[in-house]
Amino acid sequence: MTGLERVGAALQGRFADRRAATATLSLYGARLAGIALSRYYRDPEAYRLGQAAVVERFDPDIVFAPFALALEAEACGAGLAFFDKAPPNVRKPATLEGFLGGAAEPGAEEAGSFDAARFLDEPGPAYLLESIRLLARDNAGSRPVAAILTCPCDLPALVFGLDAWLETLLFDPPRAETLLAAAERRFLALAEACAEAGAMFAAMPVMFAQPKIIGEELVKAQIIPYISRVFARAPCPLVFHHGANPLGEILALFKELPGIAGFAMDERDDFRRARSVLGPGPLLLGGVNGPLVEGRGPERLRSMVAAVREATADDPRYVFATGAADLPYDTDPGHIDALLGAARA
């Protein structure tokens, strides 16, 4: 069976020849292909080469589009910094003018002036979309391509900074509403273009829907209704990614969200419990958090994977995947072999 067939079987609730297994190796492709990150995160062909090297070396069942959320922030007016061994990050937050153009004042309606085609033609989105087209072409019929997008409730934090977005959400509701509406337009435009380019689904790390970040009251009153509205219009299946925190305790908050094909869990989560909360429908993905693979030896990794396999043995809708962020650039390839080998065994 191919990765595409294994993931398809999981989506339909059927067991395949073995578990679908993948790792977030978006960054790692640059190391395998020996490409400088300043080029890798700008040139779709360079990204394609990196992911081709990932496929050849590790044969994952899902291949990932660039995990570089800051590129979306750049298209909203933020300045980026590029690094030798990490994805680009926001160096200079955007101004309100830069993000909203002429509709910078609270309550202003940006809808009429937002030009989706122009947004998608910005360097960041254009690179993401062309990378997806190339990956979809290379992996057609063999493995699905997953886009990784910023959740719309997190986009203002990425664009303006965590504290600026917290300040706005807590103390300036009209402006928060304006920014969320602007984020919605960008998210839907980008998600639709990703689907057209060949992404089978879009994974979104979600931070600002977590009570641990903004408190349960605000999550329930403002964020859940907002993302429900946005996700209902999403043009492709979405994977709700845990961000950096366990989801288990709060999963019930999200189980009715529309458009969600699966939940990517933290390694600290209990998969049996998650399934009992969610019911039989959505996929569960996860197993070991990517950034921690580097610091754990192969034996430890094998034993962690064995524990997750045991917990999910009866669950046809489980896909082994690394959680949290990308695997670090310096991760020993032997660790990745151990991880994926154990997941496939």
Binding site: A81, F83, K85, A86, N89, V90, R91, G161, L162, D163, L166, E167, L169, L170, F171, P211, K212, I213, I214, G215, E216, L218, A244, P291, L292, E294, G295, A325, P328, Y329
Partner: protein, 221 residues
């Protein structure tokens, strides 16, 4: 704590938990005008922050509440600094140097630490984001700081803190300048504190003053 202090503390605590910053500010400013700087900082705000910090450490409150607490603390410090009668002791305490590690641009945690250190009487020299190792040590020497605090959110950037350790050691200042490290990645990977050469870390911004106090003592300050 006397009765009025206890009452205002409860009201302040409730206002912060509900993210009612203006109400919290009004309570503190009124108390400041009536009772003075020392009573407000040490008698009211510090105990409330300690209570919130304790709950934050147990994951019982959100980052947003901690953020509001930091803002309320900042607002009070600004108010004190703007008073015509001056604030002996507030801005003349021991110095601490703060900054984000080279290539790190996530400043929220650092700014919260700065606010809580100021409330605890530290004079904070905040170098901002993306600070070179030499700049941390230069600033510590120029300001007479015994503790340098370096923040990083991601693993890759946290590893750049090791260069600050090397710079401190290269200049033979290891016993005089202590290195505090912090950020989300250190909570996820506590062993990283030793890996990058940190002398200590705090799980939350509100625990930073106790950490800095301990490190300053170890530095003989």
């Amino acid at each position: 704590m006397n009765e009025p202090d206890a009452d205002i503390s409860e009201r302040l605590y409730a206002a912060i938990l509900a993210a009612r910053r203006e109400e919290a500010d009004a309570l503190l400013f009124e108390f400041l005008d009536r009772e003075g700087t020392e009573a407000t900082l040490r008698g009211v705000l510090e105990p409330v922050l300690a209570r919130i910090g304790e709950r934050w450490g147990r994951d019982r409150i959100s980052l947003a509440v901690a953020y509001v607490a930091g803002k309320v603390a900042e607002d009070l410090i600004e108010r004190i600094l703007s008073r015509a009668d001056g604030t002996p002791g507030l801005a003349q305490g021991r110095a601490a140097v703060l900054g984000n590690a080279e290539d790190d641009y996530h400043g929220l945690g650092r700014r919260m630490v700065a606010a809580f250190l100021r409330v605890a009487g530290w004079r904070v020299v905040d170098l901002g984001c993306d600070v070179l190792p030499e700049a941390f040590v230069d600033a510590a020497l120029a300001e007479g700081a015994s503790v340098v605090g370096v923040s990083a959110m991601m693993l890759t950037n946290a590893k750049n803190i090791a260069a600050v350790r090397r710079e401190i050691d290269r200049r033979g200042l290891g016993s005089r300048i202590k290195l505090a490290v912090g950020g989300a990645v250190f909570v996820m990977r506590p062993e990283l504190v030793a890996e990058v050469g940190g002398d200590g870390s705090a799980a939350t911004a509100m625990e930073a003053p106790a950490l800095f106090e301990r490190l300053a003592r170890e530095a003989g300050a």
